[in-house]
Structures are given as structure tokens and as C-alpha cells.
């Protein structure tokens, strides 16, 4: 069973709000970069960056992070795991990194992402942006920019689906965990 978590209109409002709050928090843009966790976080980051670029009229660097090799459950996962490329076409040294993921729950993905980023260099600061915070933290990690807090039973997952252009977000889908 699947259902849509937020309407298209509500999603647009959340994206604009996330972009707005980042623009408020950043004093200047020369050292700000976005890094999205593949694949949902990268998709979200692209959509937020596009809205910010339209407002500020300049390009904001965007990279993609694959955290498969940094997970703490490589040897335990009962289901398959895909390794994709990390593609960060800029240095993270002394940058303000806005790390983006679609959903935060246990915080373990974010832990893996932070470990990965510090292997690439020494950022000045790492912020965390998520579309949905569903609670259930197992590590002391909190997001700086949250689109929406949601309360979902454990057996449900939320997933962003890309549109046919692979850039826009087509749907936010809630479905049962694959058994």
C-alpha cells in the first residue's frame, strides 16, 4: 500500500520555506556548498539549490555523496546495498557545508555522511537539512533545517521520487518496509 505524504502544493511550500531559511541563516554565499546524500538527499538538494539560485542570482556548488562504504551495517544488512559514486566537484576545506538528506530517523546515515565528508577535507561547519524528521534517533544528531516533522509507524518508509527529468521531485511516497 502506498500513499502520498504531502500534496504537490504543500511540497512546493516546504521547499520554498527551506530555501528561505537557509538564505536567512547565511550571511554570504562565497563559502557555502550543498552536498546531498544519494539518492533522495541529492534530489532534494538540487531542488532547494535551484530555488536559492533563482533568488540570489548566482551559482551555488552542489555535490553528491554516496555513503554505502561508510555505513556501520555493511556486514549485517539483510538486503542488498548499492555502491554509487561520490561526486563532489569542489574542495570542502573551510566551506560551510549544507548536508542534505530526504529523511532523518536513527541518524546513522548522517553519521556516515559526516565521516565521509571529513575524509574529503575540513569544512568550516556542517549544517544538516532534511525534508522529513520522523524521530527515532539512535545517535545524538539533530537537523538545522527541517521541512516537516512526521509521525509514522516503524514499518512505513518515505521516499522521494524523481520526475522524468531526474531533477524535479515527482512524488513523496509512503510505503510499507520491504520484508
Amino acid at each position: 500500500m502506498t500513499d502520498i505524504a504531502v500534496s504537490e502544493k504543500e511540497l512546493e511550500g516546504i521547499l520554498r520555506d527551506l530555501a528561505g531559511r537557509v538564505m536567512e541563516a547565511m550571511e554570504s554565499w562565497h563559502d557555502v556548498v550543498f552536498i546531498g546524500i544519494r539518492s533522495g538527499g541529492f534530489l532534494l538538494a538540487g531542488n532547494v539549490v535551484r530555488r536559492i539560485q533563482e533568488k540570489i542570482g548566482k551559482a551555488v556548488p552542489l555535490g553528491a555523496l554516496d555513503i554505502a562504504l561508510y555505513r556501520d551495517d555493511v556486514h549485517r544488512r539483510p538486503f542488498s546495498l548499492e555502491v554509487r559514486s561520490t561526486d563532489i566537484p569542489f574542495s570542502v576545506n573551510d566551506k560551510k557545508v549544507i548536508l542534505v538528506d530526504d529523511v532523518i530517523s536513527t541518524g546513522r546515515s548522517v553519521r556516515a555522511a559526516i565521516d565521509h565528508i571529513v575524509d574529503l577535507g575540513r569544512p568550516k561547519r556542517i549544517y544538516l537539512m532534511v525534508l522529513f524528521d520522523r524521530g527515532g534517533r539512535e545517535l545524538p544528531i539533530q537537523a538545522d533545517f527541517v521541512g516537516k516533522h512526521v509521525d509514522l509507524p516503524d514499518e512505513k518508509v518515505i521516499k522521494l521520487e524523481a520526475g522524468p527529468d531526474n531533477v524535479s521531485i515527482k512524488d513523496v511516497v509512503v510505503s510499507e518496509v520491504k520484508k
Binding site: L69, Y70, H75, S80, L81, E82, V83, D119, L120
Partner: protein, 310 residues
């Protein structure tokens, strides 16, 4: 799909799909070697033992670097300088190594079948680093990766493999793999260096190099093993080089975009001249570079994650 193999013994055991996944994943692993910090924590706490009963520079170094970039601990042993040279059998040696709880053993051995036997008897992963005249699967995978990287595909390519086919595990693994992936393979060698049954491998076979050169997308030269020079498979290095060596004249006959490959170590002046080895067509050093990424992929698949296809 899950990666169903504990071990990697032979290309013959892999499906075209599985080979395709290794090649796809290897690109992700290649990127790691381009970072400032060339290391990920994935195989932290895993131990990889490299048992090399035959000399090796590239393969051993490549496996060791691959394992270390994934944070595994590595121990390398060669036959000389260890008690293997005191007459201990290979299986006793393997059980003794196993008693120290490694997670993976990479083995190179002068006779065929030893890695398969070890894989059957030991609980850890076993990766074949070359066994006798049987197979050298990681070399074939890195060769296929290099071809795919260069041409964007393997299917439909014509690959000439030239030289001592009989004694070459590299040739066997490459033929099995390339044919599975839809390439056309032409084996070129004097009759004395073709093994019986070669016509069953799925490649075409010829004794003449010159007609093959202009139609090949890749010319893969095999090393003339010096020790064979005295075994009367051909009358001498000079004659061999005239009939089967890759020289400037033959490089000029190659078609546009075609590449030169060699698994190393090269015997310059025998199977390949300086002109050919150092020409712009050569992707020999790309092969070496890609070897690390492909071996990282295989260590990861054997000991940790699984390949995923949605």
C-alpha cells in the same frame, strides 16, 4: 540481486550479469583512489592474507593497495622466505593460515585447481590471483573494465589476444569473459603455443597476425615467458618478434581508435617494441590503475556488501 559468491575462482563461474555488475561498481571504487584521503572504512577489522607461491609485482601490490584503501588489514607471504619452502603442503599451509582467522585469502599458485580446492575446504573467502594455466579472473575483469571505460561498451568489440595462449591464464580468463560479454575474440599464436581444444573456447583462432591487426579494436599482447624460450615452442626471440611482435609498422596498421593492452610484465623487444608500448594507443597503465578499483570491488563483494540491481 545479491552477490552469491563467497569466492572468486574463475570467470567461468560468473554470469554476464555478474561481470556487468562488477564493472559498474568498479567506477565507484575508482573515484576513491582520486581523493586526497584514499581510504574508506568499509572493511575495517577484516584481515586479508596474500599467499603468493609465484613471483608477482602488479597483482600482489594491487590487491594489497585495494585492501588497504578499504581499511582491511593485509598480510603478504611469498613462498621464498616462509616455511612453505620447507616442504609443507599447500593445504597444510592453508589450514594453518585459516587457524589465524583471516576473512579472505588471495592465492597465486603454480598449479591449476588449488584456489578452488581451498575455497571448498576453507570458510573464508578465497580469491584466485592466478593458478597455473587455468585462470586469472581479476586480470580479466580489469581488462574488461579498461575496455568498457575506453569504448563505453564491450559488446561488439573485436579483441585480438596475441602470443603464448597455451601457457596463459590471462588469455583463458579473458576469452571466457569477453565472449560472455558479447565481444568477438581472435586468438593469434604459432601452432606450438595453442593448447588442444582451443577451438571450443568460443574465439576464432589464427596463426597470422597481420590480417588481424586492422580489424581489432584492441590488441592484447601476452608476455613471452622467458623460460619457454628454451623449450622449443619457437626458434627464438628474434623470430617470434618478427612474426608475432607488436612493432611500429603494425601499430600504424591498427584502425582508428584501437588500443594496445598488455597484462605485464612486458618483454620490450620481444612481444612488444618501445614504439608500441609507449604509443598513444597504449592503455597499459590504465589497466594497472583500474586493477586497484576492480580488486576493491571484488574484496568488497566477497567480504561485505552485495551488488544491487533495482
Amino acid at each position: 540481486m545479491n552477490w552469491p559468491h563467497k569466492d572468486l575462482i574463475a570467470i567461468q563461474n560468473l554470469t554476464a550479469d555478474e561481470i556487468g555488475h562488477v564493472l559498474d561498481m568498479a567506477s565507484s571504487f575508482k573515484e576513491i583512489s582520486k581523493r586526497d584521503i584514499k581510504k574508506v572504512p568499509t572493511l575495517r577489522g577484516k584481515t586479508v592474507v596474500l599467499l603468493f607461491y609465484e613471483p608477482s609485482t602488479r597483482t600482489r601490490l594491487s590487491f594489497e593497495i585495494a585492501a588497504k584503501r578499504l581499511s582491511a588489514d593485509t598480510v603478504a607471504l611469498s613462498a621464498s622466505g616462509s616455511s612453505f619452502s620447507k616442504g609443507e603442503t599447500i593445504m597444510d599451509a592453508a589450514y594453518n593460515v585459516m587457524a589465524m582467522a583471516p576473512d579472505c585469502i588471495v592465492i597465486r599458485y603454480p598449479s591449476a585447481g588449488i584456489p578452488a580446492k581451498m575455497a571448498e575446504l576453507l570458510s573464508c573467502s578465497v580469491i584466485n590471483g592466478g593458478d597455473g594455466f587455468h585462470e586469472h579472473p581479476t586480470q580479466a575483469l580489469l581488462d574488461m573494465y579498461s575496455l568498457k571505460e575506453h569504448f563505453g561498451r564491450i559488446e561488439g568489440l573485436t579483441v585480438a589476444i596475441v602470443g603464448d595462449i597455451m601457457h596463459s591464464r590471462v588469455a583463458r580468463s579473458n576469452v571466457y569473459g569477453l565472449v560472455k560479454m558479447g565481444a568477438r575474440v581472435v586468438l593469434v599464436a604459432p601452432k606450438t603455443l595453442l593448447p588442444p581444444g582451443v577451438e571450443l573456447w568460443g574465439a576464432s583462432v589464427t596463426n597470422e597476425l597481420d590480417p588481424v591487426i586492422p580489424e581489432a579494436d584492441a590488441v592484447m599482447m601476452l608476455r613471452v615467458q622467458n623460460e619457454r624460450l628454451n623449450e622449443r615452442f619457437f626458434s627464438g626471440a628474434r623470430e617470434y618478434s618478427i612474426f608475432y611482435g607488436l612493432n611500429r609498422k603494425r601499430v600504424e596498421m591498427m584502425k582508428d581508435g584501437a588500443v594496445i593492452m598488455h597484462p605485464g610484465p612486458m618483454n620490450r623487444g620481444v612481444e612488444i617494441t618501445h614504439d608500441a608500448a609507449d604509443s598513444a594507443r597504449s592503455i597499459i597503465l590504465d589497466q594497472v590503475e583500474n586493477g586497484v578499483a576492480v580488486r576493491m570491488t571484488l574484496l568488497y563483494l566477497s567480504m561485505g556488501g552485495t551488488a544491487n540491481v533495482d
